[in-house]
């Protein structure tokens, strides 16, 4: 199935209603909602238009070559540093870039693992519940869980989510549309260990179809899931779900291989066009009544900072100075276990059981934070990555003992992941690298990040619990990855935070820029707090809600 022929092509020199920058988790939802509401929409996506037929089981292309994460047209490097007093450098030695996302139609929703947690009421008002944290940007959201709940439900039902309620779940207005995915041995072992310790495992909610749904087939458990596009369209990416519906309206044009480099402001202080490089690398500009940035928590602030002008010398929509600040990535800690009988965690999806007993901040732990625990193969789900990364303590990582571990471990390994809160800190941010540029002269994304000590403590806490759970489940061997400050992030959150006060936030509760009335921002950058991991559902619920508010404003001619 090749990329569909566009049903509509809009001229660039006539203003469409909306240009949406990015076709991923939020951009895809916004495109479908606004197109079905009757508006003309152009979606600019820097990646190519891959479809299910383009996805396969090739680890070299997917992981070692980073096929979906690299820019399709030219090198677009990123730099990283832990603190502002260091020189940021391009990380050496291969591996993913500091800000990890997919450049493809559907964005990171194409290659994500599908974990699909709701936030809870407390996530929206934890600052009020716990009090201030000095030196941080710890803050309440301007909206509540109750306001977002209908849109969580819409996301689950319209994208396709499999799950079952757990004992700590927030209130929901509708059950899950699909039953949970079949439990894997890793999930069963997590549940067994949890039961031994008085904890509560529950089926993992995932944006993957356990049954046929809305014209799409159920998952066939091929195992090439995290990092891969789904060959079945069973993963509920925006590519598989809402983008085809957006295009079917005849009012939405997805323009792949279109790399935006500037959002222009006219002399009335309104955005009026978006400039981009097309598939041939030629400069183009699309006029629009309003612009929505949905490019992710790294690319969105980069674009705003690149769009500095006389009217906005510090970057577009940045009079608060907070564009790019308060980057949150969620903390992650990993442990591993080996079991005597075959687990075969390389089959099917990553996660089938989760534990949310430690979701809330517990003052007795001595630090802020909460999180969740799940069992999964991690990057040991596929043969090459398993052999390259298995870290079971065999030193050196070659020779007969190493081979024994690789051979036995593939079928008998369970990874345990702890996912945690991230304290919002101004020092953690996305800025423009002052030196490094891409081949087109765009400043590189520079990430500055060091986990808050409480985040590291929470990561360690969950790792300890994970090891205990695996031991209680009968693991014959366990080991831990070091808990160290993280230097790359796939969750790119908080960099254009939402708020009522224009001096402490970038967008208002309706995702409208405080500074520019017809500029909207809706993606991971909008989040005020990080949740406990797995932010995609919240990003998409926000996109459903934002679409409604933006459409209403457009109908009233208030954009």
């Amino acid at each position: 199935m090749p990329a569909p022929e566009p049903r509509v092509r809009f001229p660039t020199r006539e203003a469409v209603d909306f240009v949406i920058v990015g076709s991923g988790a939020s951009g895809g939802v916004l495109a479908r909602e606004l197109a079905t509401a009757g508006f003309d929409v152009v979606v600019l996506e820097q990646g190519p238009y891959r479809t299910a037929a383009d996805f396969g089981h090739d680890e070299l292309k997917t992981f070692l070559n980073g096929e979906m994460s690299q820019h399709p047209g030219w090198a677009d490097p990123q730099t990283f540093r832990e603190s502002a007093d260091q020189d940021a450098t391009v990380p050496g030695g291969g591996g993913p870039p500091p800000a990890m996302y997919a450049r493809t139609v559907g964005g990171a929703s194409v290659h994500f693992s599908g974990n699909y947690w709701r936030m809870r009421p407390l996530d929206f008002k934890e600052r009020s519940l716990l009090g201030p944290m000095s030196g941080t940007g710890f803050a309440d959201w301007p909206i509540s869980y109750g306001e977002l709940e209908p849109y969580y439900t819409r996301a689950e039902w319209e994208l396709g989510v499999s799950g079952a309620p757990g004992p700590f779940d927030p209130p929901r207005s509708k059950p899950y549309p699909l039953p949970p995915m079949p439990v894997k041995s890793s999930g069963a072992l997590l549940e067994r260990g949890a039961r031994e310790l008085g904890l509560h495992a529950q089926p993992a909610p995932v944006a993957i179809l356990s049954k046929p749904y809305r014209g799409r087939p159920a998952c066939v458990h091929c195992g090439f899931c995290m990092g891969f596009g789904c060959e079945m369209n069973a993963k509920s990416s925006t590519l598989a779900s809402v983008l085809p519906e957006a295009e079917a309206t005849g009012r939405c044009e997805i323009r792949p291989l279109s790399t935006v480099y500037h959002v222009d402001v006219n002399d009335k202080g309104r955005v009026d066009q978006v400039r981009y490089y097309d598939a041939e690398g030629v400069e183009q500009a699309q006029k629009a009544r309003a612009v929505i940035l949905a490019a992710n928590g790294a690319e969105t602030p980069r674009l705003l900072l690149m769009s500095a002008s006389t009217a906005f010398p510090d970057g577009l929509a940045n009079t608060s100075g907070l564009v790019g600040k308060y980057l949150m990535g969620n903390g992650h800690s990993v442990s591993h276990a080996i079991f005597p009988e075959p687990v075969n965690d390389w089959k099917s999806i990553q996660v089938t059981r989760i534990i949310h007993d430690f979701y809330e901040t517990d003052p007795q732990r001595g630090h802020y934070g909460g999180g969740g625990i799940d069992a999964r193969p991690l990057i040991n789900a596929t043969p090459v990555m398993h052999a390259l990364t298995l870290s079971g303590g065999a030193v050196p990582r070659w020779g007969r003992e190493f081979r024994r571990e690789v051979d036995f471990g593939f079928g008998h390994h369970v990874g345990v992941l702890g996912s945690t809160t991230s304290v919002p800190l101004e020092r953690n941010n996305i800025t423009l690298d002052p030196v490094l540029k891409d081949a087109k002269g765009r400043p590189a994304i520079r990430m500055t990040y060091r986990d808050h000590d409480d985040d590291l403590a929470m990561m360690k806490f969950l790792q300890d619990r994970g090891v205990e759970i695996m031991q209680a489940a009968g693991a014959t061997k366990t080991w831990r990855e070091p808990v160290v400050p993280q230097n790359f992030h796939a969750h790119l959150l908080g960099t254009c935070r939402m708020g009522d006060d224009p001096s402490t936030s970038v967008v208002d509760a309706g995702h409208r820029s405080h500074d520019v009335p017809n500029l909207f921002i809706c993606d991971g950058s909008s989040l005020v707090s990080s949740g406990r991991g797995q932010p995609t559902l919240t990003i998409q619920a926000l996109a459903f809600r934002a679409s409604e508010l933006i459409a209403e404003a457009a109908r009233k001619n208030e954009i």
């Binding site: 070692l64 990171a108 290659h111 091929c222 990855e481």
Partner: protein, 184 residues
């Protein structure tokens, strides 16, 4: 998406992916390498980008990384060097001189003999001296790729790499997936 805990974790296994990593590989080049590798996968085919001696030395190193075990073939017999030969004509062309120099260095470290004339344990002792070098890091990575990547890349002959770890290339699976599924 992915929850790899850190780049450090990501790379912990392979040590040195320097020059062989994320951005150094290019899809088109990989596919070209795969085609030539598949064509040369037969054991009797001549080597394309390396000499027969280099192939033998690389095979000896590969068998140190992923040795024959309990009657199962090691990396060389599984075709890891065929994978490398193709890679050196494509996306690994850059590091080839460094790899060849590393092989010469192994000979120098092998005393009066050359590396190939040593027994298995003596080869191990020599490689321990260089296991932190980019040379070893690259050959280590290429060995494991050659054992476990899709057979279309020239290695993983008869899917023997996959058989060794119990992986089966099938598109569709059904529960139960493992021995513990029913214990939930």
């Amino acid at each position: 998406m992915s929850k790899r805990s850190s780049r450090r974790t990501f790379l912990a296994g392979s040590g040195h992916l320097a020059g062989a990593g994320w951005l150094a590989l290019h899809g088109g080049a990989i596919m070209a390498a795969a085609r030539s590798a598949a064509a040369a996968a037969d054991l009797d085919e001549p080597w394309v980008n390396i000499s027969a001696t280099d192939a033998a030395r690389l095979g000896a190193v590969a068998d140190q990384v992923y040795p024959p075990l309990d009657g199962a073939p090691g990396a060389e017999a599984i075709g890891a060097v065929r994978f490398m030969d193709a890679a050196f004509g494509g996306f690994m062309a850059g590091p080839l001189p460094m790899v060849l120099a590393g092989l010469d260095d192994l000979d120098q470290r092998s005393g009066a003999d050359d590396f190939l004339s040593l027994g298995f344990d003596d080869r191990t002792a020599v490689l321990k001296q260089v296991e932190a070098t980019p040379f070893f890091g690259i050959v280590h990575m290429l060995t494991l790729c050659g054992v476990f990547a899709l057979p279309s890349y020239g290695g993983n002959r008869d899917q023997q790499g996959w058989k060794a770890i119990g992986f089966e290339s099938r598109h569709v699976w059904q529960p139960p997936f493992g021995a513990y599924d029913a214990s939930a």
